[in-house]
Amino acid sequence: MPLFLTALIVFAIGAVWPLIGRKKWSNFVGPLAAVIGSLLAAGVGLYHLFNNSKADLILAWPFPLGSFHIGFDPLTSIFVLPVGIIGALAAIYGHTYLQATESWKKLSSSWSLYNLFVAFMLLALVARNGFLFLMAWELMSLSSFFLVLFDHEKKEVGRAGWIYFIAAHIGAAFLLAMFILLDSSGTMEFSLFSAHGQYASVIFILSLVGFGSKAGIVPLHVWLPEAHPAAPSHVSAVMSGVMIKLGIYGILRVLLFLGKPDPWWGWSLIAIGAISGILGVLYALAQHDLKRLLAYHSVENIGVILLGIGIGVLGVCSGNILMATMGLGGGLLHALNHAVFKSLLFLGAGALKYSAGTLEIDRLGGLFKRMPVTGLTFLIGSIAISALPPLNGFISEFFIYFASLSGVSTSGQPWAGVIVIASLAIIGALAAACFSKAFGIAFLGEPRSESASEAHEVSRKMLIPMILLAGFCVFMGSSGAWLLRFTLPVANQFMPIKWAPVSLDSPLTALKWITATAVVFMIFAAAIAAFRKVMISKRPVRKDVTWGCGYIAPSSKMQYTSSSFAQPIINMFRTVLRPNLSFAQSTELFPKNLSLHSHTDDLFLKHIFRPLFESFIRLAGGLRRIQTAGTHTYIMYIALTILALLVWRLW
């Protein structure tokens, strides 16, 4: 605990120093404080997770409401860990990424806010008092809002910032209502929270909306594809990799308050998970901008996490301990895994932006040769996010599959498992399609633009965080059985105490075999590669141009584009996605300028939120009529009010 407080103090130094210290130092002290603070916090989280221990601390608190009550339990620890690790790695990356910034003001405020952002995320995780939690939550949202506005001169960045701001606050309003309902003692202490029978379901819905808007579940996801691309890449890595997971943490924490769950909670989590997962990946496929694509993939992965938690909750309801353990464990592990590979991919996208100057996938290409290390780490991230073995994404999805299969074959209600498996199968195949597009078009082939052909590898300081994250992907992919023990204490928190611990032999055997198949795969691959090398060594190897059916003057414009690659799948799902296609035809005899635009709008933004907020504005416009700014009108309002009060009192 003292270490954790030290971390908070380090963050405070990191937040203040860049503002008052010498300007030369701000790009050094800022990231340094963030790295030290994050690593300290991650260390504390790891310690508590390993020892399965809890800690509690109450400090003096000058405010009238709430108390400074912080603590660690397995659920907190497993979320503190990625916040710390990603927070530190993204700071190392950001140090170089922001070096080119000319404005000193921008640079130092950005680092100050970054330190605050990570610190408040950690504080929200350890908070054991509703008031403290809401305060940390709000400050976390605010500091990330200002971080998104880094390039605030750009119009679209400003717009993205406001969408995020509004989404965050609507979510917070629901959370406030939820905490008031939960608080029966008037102290806002987590330990005194209790579920009232009839309120429990209301509280669950409030938490789903409030925390779900932060996590980015459909249809509350609309801020993600706006805010993530607008922020600097290391910030979007932290936001998408870690911050949205706090929404998941919140949902889980509230489930702990509520005690034994209702089956329909599990069903609604599964339904939301399936919808978010499938729509998220479909929208991702339709994107042309790499960062927007990644942002929609966060929606997809939140869906996968919720599928796991949902099947776990159903397991708790029906008393199927194996299903509960594997489902909740899978959801949690996927949250960890997603933090790793999504921040890796966002950092990779940042490197592309830094080096090739654009994130438009159809303007990239040929970068694997020019940026070999970024390319390799991006490839590893792509395989991991597509849930392909032998990397970490596969392990967590295997957990969830396993939970669903055990639900299907043992419980009386097999349909929940069937829905989860079917959704995961569709999501998996679509994600593989999406990332073969993202990686294949952006990194392979010939450069599609001038700037892409002049790209070069980024500096070592930017590469190291990416290499480390790629290493995590490989490591976590080969240690499934170990990771199950890791998530076990957290999953156990959700089980009723009277349950006897169940034998985990069957998942453990399965996970050990998974590791074995990964090893077998490596051996096969090495053997075949060696065989190929031997065979080819005596034969002639020639270099030539790509086969073009006899056409010998190919240009890079003749390559397949990302839009064309995704088109068949988008077309297959056109009833849900409603893609727009505009084709400018020429009436000339020998047409020269033809153009084709394809664009897929977010239907929720376009058909739900935009009309909703437009009607709000109209309503507000109606209210303007009573604000005439004439003194006599206001005097009349006062007189009328006094009259009304008098009448009310004298009645």
């Binding site: 490839l379 392909l388 396993f402 299969l405 079917a422 199968a425 998996g428 990332f435 790509t546 086969w547």
Partner: protein, 306 residues
């Protein structure tokens, strides 16, 4: 129960799988009234390719060279998880079917990446179509397997197929086995780029799917890919056989023999399908896969209902 037979199956699969395309081609030749190529022609092709030099496009990177290697390695891993008929797989564990599907996914991912590495429009087109069909094929496959898992009360593919003899199963289950088998057959045709999804004999790059993705591969790389495709037919064939004849004689060697016989029948059947119909229009193909999904779903309903 450990025995030598699973290993024998792997060795036989590696040795005999190129025979399957040979049999398919001979069947097609028979129906076409031609003499056709030799039965062992796929072997000659692969051996010839192994001994040839290679031409690489200047556009490509090491991804292009790694593609065939990694995809063959993952198909081999998938093979170790595949049981044939009622003979258990070399590697069997609860949930192994997920690993099987995802290793095949890894193979596909790398073939697609290698195709995109050439920067050729044709190969991009093939890659895109391959990924499109997979979305539905994988769903049909998974739903079918869950139906089998419910009936077999297990979620290891070996135990599912190795379980009961067909006469012991109630009628509902038999029906659902047949439905799953039909779905698996459609998935087999789609995943192995056979008619009606893809015509391996077509000469027009624009209409191909699988063949166009490997246009630029040559020499040993192409040899590895062709061997991998043959193994893939074997894997799907073995799963199909497992769904249609869960027959257990009690002796593993005998079961293996039955399995091999059934594989021969599957190859001839593919040949007959290919001779008796033309390929579908590309836009129609997904509809057939949706049919497979529906068949699997019906099997699922039947399985849950029993």
């Amino acid at each position: 129960m450990r025995s030598i037979w699973p290993l024998v199956h792997i060795v036989l699969a590696i040795g005999l799988s190129p025979l399957l395309p040979g049999i398919i081609n001979r069947t097609k030749a028979f129906f076409g009234g031609r003499h056709g190529q030799r039965l062992l022609q796929p072997y000659y092709d692969i051996f010839k390719l192994l001994r040839k030099g290679v031409v690489y496009s200047r556009t490509t990177t090491w991804i292009f060279r790694a593609g065939p290697v990694i995809s063959l390695a993952s198909i081999l891993v998938a093979l170790t998880i595949t049981p044939i008929g009622t003979v258990r797989a070399l590697i069997a564990f609860p949930g192994d079917v997920i690993a099987l599907v995802y290793f095949l996914g890894l193979a596909r991912f790398f073939i697609v990446a290698a195709a995109l590495d050439t920067g050729s429009s044709f190969e991009g087109m093939g890659a895109s179509r391959e990924m499109q069909f997979t979305v539905l094929a994988e769903l049909a496959f998974m739903l079918g397997i869950i139906a089998m898992a419910i009936m077999g009360k297990s979620f290891s593919i070996t135990a599912i197929f190795g379980g009961a003899a067909i006469k012991e199963l109630p009628n509902m289950a038999t029906m659902s086995h047949v439905l799953v088998a039909a779905a698996l057959l459609i998935v087999l045709l789609s995943e192995n780029a056979r008619i009606p999804f893809d015509d391996p004999d077509t000469h027009l790059e624009l209409t191909m799917i699988h063949e166009v993705m490997v246009l630029d591969h040559g020499g040993i790389d192409l040899g590895l890919i062709q061997f991998g495709s043959a193994l893939k037919i074997w894997i799907f064939g073995a799963l199909f056989v497992g769904a249609i004849i869960p027959m257990n004689t009690g002796h593993a060697g005998m079961n293996l023999l039955i399995g091999l016989g059934a594989m021969l029948a599957v190859a001839i059947m593919i040949g007959i399908v290919e001779s008796s119909m033309a390929r579908l229009r590309l836009l129609r193909a997904p509809q057939l896969l949706v049919t497979a999904c529906i068949l699997s779903f019906l099997a699922l309903i039947a399985a849950v209902g029993q």
